[in-house]
Symmetry: C2
Amino acid sequence: MAPPIMVTMAAGREGEWRIDTLRTITGEPLLAAARLAVLPGRHPSTDGAVWSLLGSTGAPRYTTQSEQAALVAVQPELGRAQATSGAMIALRKNDAWWSLAADQRRKIFEEDARHIAMSMRFLPAIARRLYHARELGQPFDFLTYFEFAPEHAAAFDELLAQLRASVEWRYVEREVELRLSR
Amino acid sequence: MAPPIMVTMAAGREGEWRIDTLRTITGEPLLAAARLAVLPGRHPSTDGAVWSLLGSTGAPRYTTQSEQAALVAVQPELGRAQATSGAMIALRKNDAWWSLAADQRRKIFEEDARHIAMSMRFLPAIARRLYHARELGQPFDFLTYFEFAPEHAAAFDELLAQLRASVEWRYVEREVELRLSR
């Protein structure tokens, strides 16, 4: 387990990713911008940024030993040359979710929503990284980040559709989706 | 579930708590200081601080619904008038701990160490709050904060002794204990 990796997602005129679409699924929108910079570490004020969000990786909250072993066996690294498409989806869950105990959240996450088992079907096509943001005092709880080859865009759409139809997603009160290319 | 509460623990010449002892249990020490200020929010540079640590409350990682209900029934609030003794114990766990999956950490935390069940015996005498710090990029993973009446100091010592003898504590690689009074 590597130490936590902090990230600043800054939307503006600069950055490695072009923002192809910015779509508000639920709740308050984010402002439109041309590009997204994914910067290692904390960058409190980025010149010319329309908005910027901070996140940090951390120990998985719900993944069991057998699930973790299965994931490690198939999940790809970020930064693959063919992965010129991407997505950043910022999420916030509601008070009802955060009032649940750990075992209740785990049950919804995996037994009801099949979050891990269902996502596994899309590996190794889709590389992903989860950043936690709630305890950093951010306006979102999670920044979810994905990289894939353009030919896997339909599979990615299917993954999103399945997650959004799940019990877990009833607890999502804010969701903004950026589709990216580089 | 309230939103996360951020805290800055700043040691120096000011603050509501007098630092009676500062004892390094494991790993690198912290510098001695006269007083500890427990400040709401993030205070990046506190005048005259010898050191300062940032933490945030967050959803409990391992507590089940029945454990949470039992805790809510007996755990006291912070800030009781008679609670003029306190403690702040900063902890960091090692890579072996953070490499474990969520169910493995849960098993050690409660089935092996009986962290919740054993701590319950000391409620409502001892009020406490756990701040997470690892994902904030801090030098400790947790800032644990306690308040109790002076006559419960021996019970608090017993609680610490039991936790430190547990399987969970084999994963602690840095621990510094401040005993406080106000």
